[in-house]
């Protein structure tokens, strides 16, 4: 058994240690967010966040993430209570087929956690490993910018927002 924390919950994983994290998430933990795209680390559809860093789960064996904390798109919120990143993607209607989108969101999530004031150029660079075939790029960029704004506003101290107590 391998210990793994996923979206805040601790699990004892029965999959073999060489199993890529993607199949642990999809097959054993029944999470849909991370997608199989290439199995080669070339497209980013499987991106999840491990201890604050965006990781390609299709080429990351369970062994390397044992004891670590994994966040998938399910960990950002739900359809009824979406988190800021999810809300931004809904507001911008930043999806066509949507298959690449959870990977995009997790990549952006890792970026904004580490760099809440990421510039457009930094967002593009962070998303460079992630492929979208529908051509939703402009909306994805807008959604990430919107999420960044929302997250900054939420984090800013009340006085900075001019809030009245």
């Amino acid at each position: 058994m391998t210990k793994l924390t996923v979206n805040g919950r601790e699990h004892d994983i029965s999959s073999a240690p060489d199993t890529p994290l993607l199949y642990v998430l999809r097959d054993e933990l029944v999470l849909n967010g991370a997608k199989f795209g290439c199995g080669l680390g070339q497209c980013g559809a499987c991106t999840v966040v491990v201890d604050g860093t965006a990781v390609l789960s299709c080429v990351t064996p369970l062994l390397l993430v044992a004891g670590k904390s994994v966040t998938t798109v399910e960990g950002l919120g739900t359809a009824h209570e979406p988190g800021p990143m999810q809300r931004a993607f809904m507001q911008e209607q930043a999806a066509q087929c949507g298959y690449c989108i959870p990977g995009m969101m997790m990549c952006a999530h890792a970026l904004l956690q580490n760099n809440p004031r990421a510039t457009d150029a930094e967002i593009r660079t962070a998303l460079q490993p992630n492929l979208c075939r529908c051509g939703t790029h402009m909306r994805i960029l807008r959604a990430v910018r919107r999420a960044a704004e929302t997250m900054r506003t939420a984090q800013a101290p009340a006085s900075a927002r001019g809030a009245v107590p």
């Binding site: 073999a16 199949y23 097959d27 967010g33 087929c97 989108i101 593009r124 460079q128 051509g135 790029h137």
Partner: protein
């Protein structure tokens, strides 16, 4: 608001109150109407032609629950939301109260394929008319019950309301068989001025699940007792399986079964990664006899010109004889290009009690069912195909083949659901590509610089090898019985295949267009978004620029000189204006601007694109800076959905046009992943794309999903030519080609 003013209603009034209303009505009205109107009656609108019963499209339960059914499928184009908007509008019910069922051979009408930008035209039109007629029937029923004439009644939020405020909900009004009647040719549709739902940017209903990890795709379908399968595909087209050590693989942990049938080879395991490991072991132990002989990759154009072709003159115009003047000619080529879905094909199948159910992201559940039934010698009613979304397909990719794989494997394991997903290299190597093509254009200008003569020829394979018969499916070709691949056919105009959009919308005094259909297919090909329109519009529109230059006229102005269609002129003018088009003002060195236009299929949406690019002299690298598009797709249902489609088409077309070319050696496909088949990434995406929608309230829905592909490619090609002063006519306009063409 008036209800259906047809004879049906008077007939209905006669029958009302007899108690036999329901059954009599079910069969009587359309017969009555036909008898009255005779042969002259107009055809039913949209897909009502094929499935005329109203309850094939709309059902209302006694408790008021409303179900709308469509034979079309969600491909990420937003069709579900658009169809719901239409139904909600014409029924006068809140959108969120409607349940939508998409293509399922067990439940919905047969609407063929979801392809060719036809969903709104076929299904949207059917649902709009069915909904209007259903509402009319409900109004009439309320009129009977309340003793108030129909014109005094109104509908709101799923109920009919009388002048005194009395409400009758649709559920209270509907009779058991009330909607089981054939539609009438004419409906009284709502006045677009009063639209509350159509024309509004309603958020897509499929997006919340997609961004939160809900069950959004067939890939996420986890049935109890689910098994995972992987297929071992041959290394090259037509390879024969000589030997394989199935016994050793069956001993691997978690492996349930190796399925071998002729050259079809697959393995089934309890867990997904175990299936992948077993697939690799199986592939390593397999020995194949390879016989494929692929053409030389760089020689496809001359091969296409050499292969036997069926030639047809598809357009001819003879006006005033061409005066002597400047003559231009140009040749265009397009390499094989792939759909390259981000998610490899997937399907789930289960054989139970002699009935096979297949969950698939096919674009056509009925054709897929027919092909699978034929493959397995099952009567079609013993096979049910249910659509679930996959990753975007952009045409005929591996979806149908994966469905056939799952069906064949599930047959070997009755009672257990089997999920198959292709590997990346399988999707890249085995999907049917967009065919390689050649175009040749010739034109003559008269002494005044006006086009006197226009000739265009196009050489292409078919653009559809969709099922079809079982032989369209890879599994059916590989397994023991080895169904033969059906003979390819050209797709008839006005849609066309290789000749889609080969006839220019421009009016020239003399013109001739020839389609050379090539039956021999050296490489597996089928429908890729826009089919031949991508290449033909690129050729026509870049050649128009060459002519404009020869005539010394601004390219936008030059196009307008040959267009009579006011809506065509409008999209061109709007795109040019919003872009700030002017050929008078020079751009900085290395920058160029270009324009492209077409009306998709010459009968669907109008689209014009203007683009600015930057070309790096040292590397030949192209960076699109900005694009501005204008689109007219008739009555707009969801403007944001339309903008999303056109933005996507522009970026996808940029990727095809700048980078994409399937590679192969003499035997095997060698484009097998994203490094050997690169597509556009974020660093090359433009700074901005602005899409302007020209709404045409009350006009019929025009397909728009594929309308941007050709104009975007043309605008890009023209912008590159404008930037470097040289014409490139071979797609893709890759970095090496641009560098080679660049003047020193």
């Amino acid at each position: 608001m008036r209800s259906m003013p047809s004879l049906v209603l008077s007939r209905r009034k006669v029958l009302a109150g007899t108690g036999a209303l329901v059954m009599s009505f079910a069969s009587a009205p359309s017969l009555l109407l036909r008898a009255t109107e005779g042969q002259g009656s107009p055809p039913l609108p949209g897909s009502l032609k094929q499935s005329p019963y109203l309850d094939s499209w709309i059902r209302i339960a006694a408790d008021g629950r409303i179900t709308v059914l469509t034979g079309k499928v969600e491909l990420g184009q937003g069709v579900k939301t658009a169809l719901l908007q239409i139904a909600a509008e014409e029924l006068d019910v809140p959108l969120e109260t409607i349940t939508l069922v998409t293509a399922d051979t067990g439940q919905t009408a047969n609407e063929g394929f979801t392809a060719g930008s036809r969903s709104m035209h076929d299904s949207g039109t059917a649902i709009q008319n069915a909904a209007a007629q259903v509402r009319a029937l409900l109004l009439d029923q309320a009129s009977q019950q309340l003793g108030v004439t129909v014109d005094q009644l109104r509908t709101e939020a799923g109920a009919v309301i009388a002048p005194d405020g009395t409400r009758r909900s649709y559920g209270e009004l509907v009779g058991a068989e009330m909607l089981h009647v054939e539609a009438q040719p004419r409906s009284v549709l709502k006045d677009p001025k009063g639209f509350k739902v159509i024309g509004k940017p309603i958020p897509r209903i499929d997006i919340p699940a997609k961004v939160t990890g809900g069950t959004a795709y067939v890939h996420d379908l986890r049935l109890p007792g689910l098994l995972h399968a992987r297929v071992v595909r041959p290394p090259s087209y037509g390879a024969r399986l000589v030997e394989v050590n199935a016994a050793a693989v069956e001993k691997m942990p978690g492996v349930v079964k190796v399925v071998r049938d002729g050259n079809f080879l697959a393995v089934v395991a309890e867990r997904e990664f175990l299936a992948i490991k077993a697939m690799r072991a199986l592939a390593a132990s397999a020995r194949w006899q390879e016989t494929a002989k692929l053409p030389k990759q760089d020689d496809f154009a001359s091969l296409l010109l050499r292969l036997p072709a069926q030639d047809s003159v598809i357009f001819e115009e003879h006006g005033a004889p061409a005066a002597a003047g400047k003559k231009l000619e140009a040749s265009f080529t397009r390499a094989y290009q792939m759909h390259a879905s981000i998610g490899p094909a997937c399907a789930v199948a289960k054989l139970e009690d002699g009935t096979l159910t297949v969950w698939t992201h096919t674009q056509g559940v009925y054709p897929d069912r027919a092909a699978i039934a034929q493959m397995l010698h099952l009567p079609p009613e013993r096979v049910r195909c249910i659509h679930m979304e996959g990753a975007g397909c952009y045409g005929h990719n591996g979806a149908d083949d994966a469905a056939a794989d799952a069906a064949l494997i599930a047959r070997a394991l009755p009672g257990r659901p089997v999920r198959v997903q292709w590997m990346r290299e399988q999707e890249h190597a085995w999907e049917p590509y967009g065919p390689a093509m050649v175009g040749k254009a010739r034109a003559a200008l008269d002494a005044n610089g006006r086009v006197a003569n226009w000739e265009y020829e196009v050489w292409s394979n078919t653009h559809s090898t969709r099922p079809g018969g079982a032989g369209s499916l890879l599994a059916a070709r590989d397994f023991g019985e080895a169904f033969a691949e059906p003979a390819p056919k050209p797709l008839p105009l006005p849609d066309g295949g290789g000749d889609r959009n080969a006839i220019p919308l421009y009016k020239f005094p003399n013109a001739r267009v020839v389609h050379h259909f090539i039956p021999t297919m050296p490489v597996r090909v089928s429908a890729l978004r826009a089919l031949g329109a991508y290449v033909n519009v690129f050729s026509i529109e870049t050649f128009m620029d060459e002519l404009a230059q020869a005539a010394g006229v601004d390219p936008v102005e030059f196009r307008l000189q040959y267009l009579e269609d006011a809506r065509a002129r409008d999209v061109i003018s709007v795109a040019a204006e919003r872009f700030g088009w002017t050929s008078a003002k020079a751009l900085p060195r290395g920058r160029g601007r270009g324009f492209g236009f077409s009306r998709y299929k010459n009968y669907a949406a109008y689209c014009a694109v203007a683009m600015e690019v930057e070309v790096a002299r040292e590397s030949g690298r192209v960076r699109p800076i900005r694009a501005v598009a204008a689109v007219d797709s008739g009555q707009v249902i969801n403007p944001d959905g339309l903008v999303n489609q056109v933005e996507g088409a522009i970026i996808q077309s940029m990727s095809w046009t700048l980078y994409e070319r399937v590679s192969f050696d003499e035997r095997r496909i060698t484009s097998i992943d994203w490094s050997t088949y690169p597509i556009m990434r974020f660093d090359a995406v433009p700074e901005s794309i602005d899409v302007h929608v020209i709404d045409r309230p009350g006009q019929r829905f025009l397909g728009s999903g594929e309308c941007g592909q050709g104009p975007a490619a043309a605008a890009l090609g023209n912008a590159i030519a404008n930037a470097i002063g040289q014409r490139l006519r071979d797609l893709p306009l890759s970095r090496d080609r641009i560098k080679a063409a660049m003047p020193v």
